[in-house]
């Protein structure tokens, strides 16, 4: 069976992947995670659990966080087994 996809001239409710569909978070975030990369064991638990997918753990450099979209939920700090992530109030 064959399917021919022929786009429509009409507007159709089809969305496409994009970063930041709900905007950046800096203006309303209450707390931000701060990482002590010396204490970090590179266990990846913070990266795996981050609901916004803004944490990257690299074996050499440790943890980096994209604060543009971090919601400050603090989940990363709670799952960190060595307490290397602290939540600090936004100024």
């Amino acid at each position: 069976m064959r399917v021919v996809v022929e786009p429509s001239r009409y507007k159709i409710p089809l969305a496409r992947p994009s970063i930041g569909v709900a905007g950046k978070t800096g203006s309303w975030r209450l707390e931000r995670p701060i990482v002590d990369n010396n204490a970090c064991t590179r266990c990846f638990l913070c990266e795996i659990h981050c609901p916004v997918n803004v944490i990257r753990v690299e074996p050499e450099t440790g943890v980096s966080i994209n604060y543009d979209y971090c919601k400050g939920c603090g989940l990363c700090a709670d799952v960190c087994p060595v307490g290397a992530i602290k939540m600090v109030p936004e100024e």
Binding site: V21, F44, L75
Partner: protein, 297 residues
């Protein structure tokens, strides 16, 4: 040596900047899905928080395929997608019905049951946040006894939680599992197993909601783990006609290894008003569940 799928394969599909509340378990689960299937998944999503989490047209927070569908129809739409793909010989994409407990245990029950009985080739995941969260925390049949919701505002829910996994086991489908957002590697391995089985697969995923359960958003994983550690949420797989306990729950066969349910309840504002009698009855519910599990191992 290849890099582990978690986290590496989970990096690209769930895009930052979605519309979920802080601490929401939904995108965490999607990351696990993407660790297994990458962008080769079609999520069929009925009305739920997930309808909103992915964000507004023309954007979408998932680099995968999404079909939003009416509340009761997820399993039926997924049936159609799965059959058409099979007919077309498309086999490199996983069809997943992704529904909340309301869309599964309540309004979606008939279409779920129908799809299960017909044994269509897809995975149905019920992410169970134990109430109608998108409409503002109303009671569902999957809300546990004693829990406050906006439609059980004073007395708390009087009835027991509906156990959908057991209902699905009764359908005789090839694979049923319970999973938890607190144990992502366990969830991952269950998805891997499900993906290798042809036919209907059902996974009940415990997904604590900070907003609806009234706890600090940082504790989503902690609360999920406590549900398992207290024995309230039992992690298992059902295939070949019996229950196979999963790693995190295995030691808890011994009741002395289980934490008291209070430790789970006290973290959550929704259980603020439960009295001793209710706590005792919740503890009994735990024991009864374990008895049932033991009988089917």
């Amino acid at each position: 040596m290849s890099k582990p799928a978690l986290p590496y394969k989970a990096r690209d599909v769930v895009l930052p900047g979605d519309a979920a509340c802080p601490g929401c378990p939904i995108p965490i689960a999607w990351k696990v899905l993407s660790a297994v299937f990458g962008d080769k998944m079609i999520l069929v999503i009925p009305a739920s928080c997930s309808s909103v989490v992915v964000g507004m047209y023309p954007g979408n927070s998932l680099k995968a395929s999404v079909i939003h569908v009416p509340f009761a129809s997820a399993a039926a739409v997924a049936s159609g997608v799965a059959e058409a793909l099979e007919k077309r010989g498309v086999s490199d994409v996983q069809v997943i019905a992704w529904a909340g407990d309301g869309g599964t245990a309540d309004i979606g029950m008939a279409s779920l049951s129908g799809a299960a009985e017909r044994n269509h080739n897809f995975i149905y995941i019920m992410y169970d946040n134990e109430a109608y969260m998108n409409t503002g925390i109303q009671r569902s049949s999957s809300t546990p006894r004693g829990a406050w919701t906006t439609t059980t505002p004073i007395l708390g829910k009087g009835e027991e939680k509906k156990d959908v996994a057991r209902i699905m086991i009764a359908h005789g489908v090839p694979y049923v599992a319970t999973a938890s957002i607190g144990y992502v590697h366990d969830f991952y391995s269950k998805l891997v197993r499900a993906s290798k089985i042809k036919g209907f697969k059902f996974i009940s995923l415990h997904a604590p909601c900070p907003v609806g359960w009234r706890f600090d958003p940082r504790y989503t994983v902690r609360v999920a783990r406590l549900a398992v550690e207290t024995g309230l949420w039992i992690l298992y797989e059902y295939y070949d006609g019996r229950i196979h306990l999963s790693g995190p729950s295995r030691p808890l066969l011994d009741p002395s290894k289980r934490k008291p349910v209070e430790e789970y309840l006290k973290l959550q504002g929704r259980f603020k008003n439960v009295d001793e009698k209710m706590v005792k009855s919740i503890q009994e519910y735990v024991e009864n569940n374990w008895e049932w599990v033991k009988r089917h191992m």
